[in-house]
Subunit: 515 residues, 2 copies
């Protein structure tokens, strides 16, 4: 899971997220550039009994993270179950959760835990105990050994599968609870933890955990839900996204069989003279989906449900745009011109506010080197549509199907492979205000951004029936989610970027800010 993923040049921040990570998009991600610095990272310098315990427990926290990384749960490989859930439950118990329960689902079990501190405020936490598959031969350091390695420019990092996605940040969050206990204090708020072990395969059974009546009731008492993450870019900056676009991923499949025209198997291309081509059929269908500008969605009704940005959202956007660096972003994306040759400001407004139809991939017929004289019977376009409020995944899928049918392409299969509605969290929510306060307490002025152009399924929490505030939170930095040599910084070489202790401190800060 990752709300943001960073490029190596340290200034990039992408729209990647946990749901999209499972499609392996990390390699292709570039990011948004943040201009300017934020002053030194000061969090750990605060004199405080709890903060002092963080340093005292540093080695134990690192050891806890190493032992967790050594125990991978990988749903796609049916590896590490039910041990992963049992270990997750044990970690929660160790951190002070009084009620800890493994929640069976139709797939891998989840974990539900509560920590009653007798406080007036309750915060919810989302954890995942599973990790992405890995190939040890691609790693410079064994992915389950979680070795500490010195990396120039970064400092001392821990290398292992799950280091940043997301056992590292989650360990930091739990370590904050250990620090309170070690300092002889109760946490200043109550906590509700929901965890799953199938995040990397798309969370197919997580609603069975969240919406079990007693779990849902516990979540309802919370002021919002936090997804721990190392949110810092390598310049130390932090962004708070107040929402994210929804997404529909689907395949458009044109075949001779469903069309009733063209061949039902690949035939010699000479027959194109007398046989219809399912590939031309797909090309013509695709061409109807965007306007002549090759960009703007042309699906009937696509824009009808769009709710314009509120004045408050606009103000947040306008305040943040000047902080973004156009030249650095263009360089990172390899882009010379924005769509329509728009200026940077307008292009960023478009990025935030416009829904899209994108072709992720085309595949049909012969795809190897050179040519092969066939008339293919089948061609596929992989599509993603990004949705802004109040578009819905189901509604937009229907619009697409209706459009195709209306234009004579009703035979083309529309196979949705994933998706969910947009998510929004108010900047006036207690959760966001507390996040801002906690970051500021650490010497960082977070950049608010009204809506991530990427997507994450926060609507599970922000939508009906829970309608909670939700967002990623946490200091620290890691990279390589879903890639070899995944890491999380333990001791940072850059004073503006938190190491593990700073990450732990950021949760202490959030808990206090909320309480």
């Amino acid at each position: 899971m990752a709300a943001t993923a960073r490029d190596d040049d340290s200034i990039q921040r992408s729209g990647l997220n946990r749901r999209e990570f499972l499609h392996g998009a990390a390699a292709g991600a570039a990011g948004l550039a943040l201009a300017g610095g934020h002053g030194g990272f000061l969090f750990a310098s605060q004199p405080d009994a709890v903060i002092a315990q963080i340093a005292a427990e540093h080695d134990a926290t690192v050891k806890r993270l190493q032992e967790w990384i050594a125990r991978p749960s990988i749903a796609a490989e049916n590896r590490g179950y039910p041990e992963g859930a049992e270990y997750m439950a044990e970690l929660a118990r160790d951190a002070g959760f009084q009620h800890v329960e493994i929640v069976p689902t139709k797939g891998k079990p989840g974990v539900f835990a509560t920590l009653d501190a007798g406080a007036p405020t309750t915060l919810a936490l989302y954890f995942m105990y599973d990790v992405k598959q890995f190939d040890p031969s691609e790693w410079s350091s064994p992915p389950l050994e979680a070795r500490l390695v010195d990396k120039p420019g970064l400092g001392r990092i821990i290398v292992g599968r799950g280091a940043t996605n997301t056992k590292g940040p989650q360990t930091a969050c739990l370590a904050a609870l250990h620090a309170f206990r070690a300092a002889g204090q109760k946490p200043p708020l109550n906590l509700v933890l929901v965890a799953e072990g199938e995040e990397e395969i798309g969370s197919p059974n997580f609603p069975q955990v969240v919406f079990r009546p007693d779990v849902e009731a516990a979540l309802r008492k919370s002021v919002g839900i936090v997804i721990p993450l190392g949110n810092q870019a390598l310049d130390g900056s932090v962004e708070i996204n107040l929402g994210a676009k929804g997404i529909v991923e689907l395949e458009l499949v044109s075949t001779g069989e469903t069309w009733g025209r063209g061949p039902t198997h690949d035939v010699h291309s000479s027959y194109e003279a007398q046989i219809d081509s399912p590939v031309w059929h797909l090309v013509q269908a695709l061409d109807t989906l965007v306007r002549a500008d090759g960009h703007t969605p042309a699906v009937e009704g696509f824009f009808d449900k769009i709710r314009p940005l509120s004045a408050a959202q606009k103000a947040i956007l306008e305040a943040s745009i000047p902080k973004r660096d156009e030249a650095a972003t263009k360089k990172a994306l390899g882009v010379a011109h924005w769509f329509g040759d728009e200026p940077w400001h307008d292009s960023l407004v478009r990025l935030v506010t416009q829904p899209t139809i994108n072709i992720e991939g085309l595949v049909g017929g012969y795809t190897g080197p050179g040519g092969k004289t066939i008339l293919p019977h089948r061609a596929v376009a992989k599509i993603d549509m990004r949705l802004v409020p109040d578009m819905t995944a189901a509604g937009t899928l229907e619009l697409l199907k209706t459009h195709l049918a209306k234009h004579g392409f009703g035979d083309i299969e529309v196979n949705m492979t994933g998706g969910y509605d947009p998510t929004e969290t108010s900047p006036d929510s207690r959760l966001v205000k507390a996040q801002i306060a906690a970051y500021r307490a650490a010497g960082i002025e977070p950049v608010l951004w009204p809506r991530l152009a990427g997507s994450w399924p926060g609507v599970t929490f922000t939508g009906a029936p829970l309608r909670l505030a939700a967002g990623m939170y946490g200091l620290g930095h890691g990279d390589g989610a879903h890639a070899p040599d995944e890491y999380f910084i333990i001791e940072s070489a850059n004073p503006k970027v938190a190491g593990l202790d700073g990450a732990v401190g950021s949760y202490v800060g959030l808990f206090r800010a909320l309480a």
Copy 2:
């Protein structure tokens, strides 16, 4: 090399050819169905001293084929050179060619040989001594052992790489010369042989053989050139194609880099909101290439050079159409409707007379299972265009480039990977008349067809400067060119289909018919 390739159900005949085989199209080929039978195959029953020697030399001919198959030359693997050329030269010498010469080229050597029988007529022969790559693990019989195997329905077959493509037919052709000598006779005509060892990689250096002045001069003296092949379908029928469409194979490549818009590397798909997509750009370019019917080429000037069929060609076509079986062809191709819901007759006229633009394949972005949220920086369409006289490969390529530029897609790379002009041979040529006579002498009424919808580079011989008649010829049957378990029938279980001796006899018959 194969002018025709057959499906297992024995009634199919495809437009596949030697040049296209090297792109591996065989697997996707279906064919044209020939209706009706042709009477028993009677060739070997003729009482004749030369024909009698064919049977006497049967075992020696089989052994010669086996020994040749055991010596593969594969240009793509740089395997079997120069030994393949030396062996080809030796085979020519053994068959009675007096002048035999290895012709160096910039690639693998060719062979040029002449047999002067003191006859007034000279016939040219085209041979290839190379074979397609193979993977022995895919074969049921070792591909270089050329074992004789009984195959139900076919008879006794020889299984090995090159068995039908084309060492078997070539061995049969040479065996005819052995038979004349064994019968104490001179062949009734002079022969000129041109052979190459790079057919399977597209004959890049063959013009250096054909157009060497002395070789060209020798070819000029011939009445035409024959490409030996097992031309019989499993029902015994034989087709004589009087020409073939030309072809241009190319890739259309859309990239952010050449476009100057969109990204120069894959980026996260959320950026589609503000970045142009090279994939949409390709889709829009493709959409301009055909009319709204999704089929008819819309490239400006595409039809301008078309020369309508002559009255004679029309008569040949109309005479042959009734011999084609619509139901069997539809079944073989997996097609329920012809383009435009045309009747069979009109669809066949279209097959013969219309040029095409076909998409062989689409590939861009993410092509694996499920989706991946990227905006690809590159997408490719693999295209073939089939050309009818008097379209040319170079001219049609230019039309395409001009069209793309005119429609705003001048940035899209047009990378031609192969192609050549259409070929035509007159039904009134001595070569075709002799082929018809020879087939009839064997009890087979060949089906004339004005133009193969597929392509073969006969224009090397039929075009300027040689302007020779050219065509595939020969009885016999094989299958599996470019596939595992390639075979050629040695002893046929079907009296309508020639075995090896019948194939040899067909060359004796052709030589006599020409003389």
